[in-house]
């Protein structure tokens, strides 16, 4: 640890870039999940075709 600080670098995994690097993929996943959620809410449950699909699948 002393050696690492003595080289002037921050502890691995705690820099801003590291945070962004870790949050980025989570943001992407959140975005994709939101798009899918709205798709199911609006295009499937909220439409005639969607209701028909759900009925065919036994979910209507």
């Amino acid at each position: 640890m002393v050696g690492a600080f003595s080289r002037g670098s921050k502890p691995v995994g705690h820099s801003l870039t590291d945070y962004v690097g870790r949050i980025g993929p989570r943001l992407v996943e959140l975005w994709l999940a939101l798009v899918l959620l709205f798709f199911f809410l609006i295009r499937i449950w909220g439409s005639h075709t969607g209701k028909h699909i759900l009925q065919v699948l036994g979910l209507g």
Partner: protein, 605 residues
């Protein structure tokens, strides 16, 4: 035979288009892939064939003239075809691809083929019946391409409608219907070529094709007489070459595709101006080329584009007084348009205001546009939707390709195009090229998400693609169900014809009655497309007045001898009254069905 002729007609036109497209070979950059070459040859050929037919049709549009032009194209196609056959027999074992996207694309194209073989039905709300097919049918009958006085929209640029006329001439009235496959396939090729230019591998290009083909708006814009999908192919071709153009020949090719697009639809005028702007930006900013060279190249492209597009605009200027006809309000200051009444202009403006408002023109609606277009496509004049890949994955594609100048130019063009579309006429079909660009970025984004290596990211992105494709397939198949049924079952087709064709009995009577030489159709909304004989419609559906001085029914009837009319068709909608009530001197009722009457004109003793 009813299905073989349209198939033969389409094969002939594609073959001829390949021949004319082969003329562009010298202009193609040497580093173009095989997919690029194929896409540019077919799309360029279709555009050139349509443009040539349009020009020839201004003076001579008989069956012979069409066969000569198509025959010339077929002759030109022999050499590349022989080369392609040799090449394919040598490379047969090499063809490999991912099964799922190939299967999906094949299903959509199969639906397009079968549904495209169905006979057209419908009223004047169907644009094909109202003008896309009406024009070609009458041009063939008259032997010349001219705007039809009672349908002002037949004065639109008609490169694709000229192709429809050729298909109708060779393959009958089903010919242009089955052109859907050609329009979709050629545009899919261009979409795949664009994806490969942005770094997608051949399997990824197949996924691009699968996602594009399952966009319901793509299917809608390419079938039933609509020209928007093929137009998207021309525009993407122009973009593909414009943003990489360095040599003069490449600028010429950019001009060829821009010109073809402008000769197909007025909306392409603004699109091509945006393309030129973006091409200037990319050449100057990213390729670091000198100002003089860029201006010179774009000047060449603009000159070529104007040369190819000008016949349609010159024809309108000479015959109708305005290059864009019907003229938009700002153009009326500079041109005096003939034959157009204030009623027509007012009706068109009202139509544009009513149907082009989408979900509003305010700033908040602009910000919400990606969301609204994805989830509420029905509010943009239907067309079935654009899937969820553009919204979900295209932003990641933009991030992934942020260092690529070509990608930046493409994204800039799509953004500007959507802005223009938003502030003018929000019809989902008019921006298909922008959705296709978004899909290409979507596939790039999918690869980017897979590269992040997170388990949920992989699963969610795969689910997005699967939902988009499956939902699109369901929408496309369900919308085409009746067409497929009609194509496969002559009895269902006959039933559908009766149910969906307004005043069919009268049109059938007039078409088979040998004494019927020229028909007077009194109702503006009676679909004249179904009339096989020459006709006169005193008032069109937009308020067009085709007989000078004949503003009421008595004035029209007074001109019957001069018009050479043999029969009069009078119809009514619902509870409306007939236009001819009671007995009229000089007219004898010869045919009557519910809401429809046909009179024979009795010559004076």
């Amino acid at each position: 035979m009813r299905l073989l002729l349209p198939i033969f007609a389409n094969l002939s036109v594609v073959f001829a288009a390949t021949g004319f497209g082969y003329l562009l070979k010298q202009l193609l950059p040497r580093d173009f892939s095989r997919v690029d070459r194929l896409a540019f040859t077919i799309l360029g050929g279709l555009g050139l064939l349509g443009a040539i037919l349009f020009c020839v049709g201004q003076i001579w549009f008989s069956r012979t003239a069409i066969q000569l032009v198509v025959g010339l194209g077929c002759l030109l196609a022999l050499k590349p075809l022989v080369a392609a056959v040799r090449d394919s027999s040598a490379n047969r074992a090499r063809f490999q691809g991912p099964a799922i996207p190939i299967l999906v694309t094949a299903i959509v194209l199969l639906v397009a083929v079968i549904a495209g073989l169905a006979e057209i039905t419908g009223d004047m709300n169907n644009d094909a019946v109202a003008y896309h097919y009406l024009g070609p049918k009458i041009w063939l009958r008259e032997g010349i391409i001219r705007p039809i006085p009672d349908e002002v929209l037949t004065a639109f640029p008609a490169t694709i409608e000229s192709l429809y006329a050729a298909l109708m001439s060779i393959g009958g009235e089903r010919g242009p219907q089955s052109f859907a496959l050609v329009a979709m396939l050629s545009t899919l090729l261009m979409g795949a070529a664009l994806g490969m230019r942005l770094g997608l591998s051949p399997p990824d290009a197949w996924w691009t094709a699968a996602i594009i083909s399952t966009l319901p708006v793509f299917f809608r814009g390419g079938s039933g007489g609509y020209i928007d999908t093929l137009l998207a192919g021309f525009i993407l071709g122009a973009a593909r070459i414009a943003f990489d153009a360095v040599r003069k020949s490449e600028y010429v090719l950019f001009g060829v595709f821009s010109g073809i697009a402008m000769s197909a639809k007025y909306t392409a005028l603004a699109t091509c101006a945006l393309l030129t702007l973006c091409a200037f930006f990319v050449a100057f900013r990213f390729h670091r080329r000198g100002l003089a060279a860029v201006v010179m190249g774009l000047g060449i492209a603009s000159a070529v584009a104007m040369l190819i597009a000008c016949p349609a605009y010159l024809r309108n200027w000479i015959l109708l007084g305005s290059p864009i006809y019907p003229p938009p309000p700002f153009l009326t200051r500079f041109f005096h348009a003939k034959y157009i009444t204030p009623t027509v202009t007012q009706n068109l403006v009202e139509n544009m205001t009513m149907f082009g408002r989408g979900m509003g023109h305010d700033f908040w609606s602009f910000l919400k546009l990606p969301f609204n277009l994805t989830y509420h496509t029905a509010n943009f004049r239907g067309a079935g939707g654009i899937g969820i890949v553009p919204l979900a994955l295209a932003p990641m594609g933009l991030i992934a390709s942020q260092r690529d100048g070509f990608a930046k130019a493409l994204a800039l063009f799509a953004a500007l195009q959507m802005s223009v579309w938003f502030f003018t006429f929000q019809d989902a079909r008019y921006a298909i090229h922008a959705y296709l660009i978004a899909v290409v970025f979507g596939v790039l984004g999918w690869k980017y998400v897979l590269g992040l290596g997170t388990r949920y990211g992989r699963a969610l992105s795969a689910l997005v693609v699967a939902c988009s494709i499956l939902y699109g397939l369901v929408m496309i198949v369900s919308a085409s169900r009746d067409d497929i049924h009609a194509a496969l079952s002559p009895s269902f087709e006959a039933k559908r014809r009766i149910a969906e064709t307004p005043f069919l009995e009268s049109f059938e009577y007039l078409n088979r009655e040998t004494s019927a030489k020229k028909i007077l159709i009194l109702d503006p909304y009676a679909p004249a497309y179904y009339c096989d004989k020459p006709y006169v419609k005193p008032v069109g559906r937009w308020g067009e007045e085709t007989i000078p001085g004949a503003t009421d029914i008595e004035a029209v009837l007074a001109q019957l001898p001069r018009l050479g009319v043999s029969h009069v068709l009078d119809v009514r909608w619902g509870s409306q009254a007939f236009r001819l009530s009671g007995d009229h001197a000089g007219l004898r009722l010869v045919f009557q069905r519910t809401d429809q009457r046909v009179y024979a004109v009795v010559p004076p003793l």
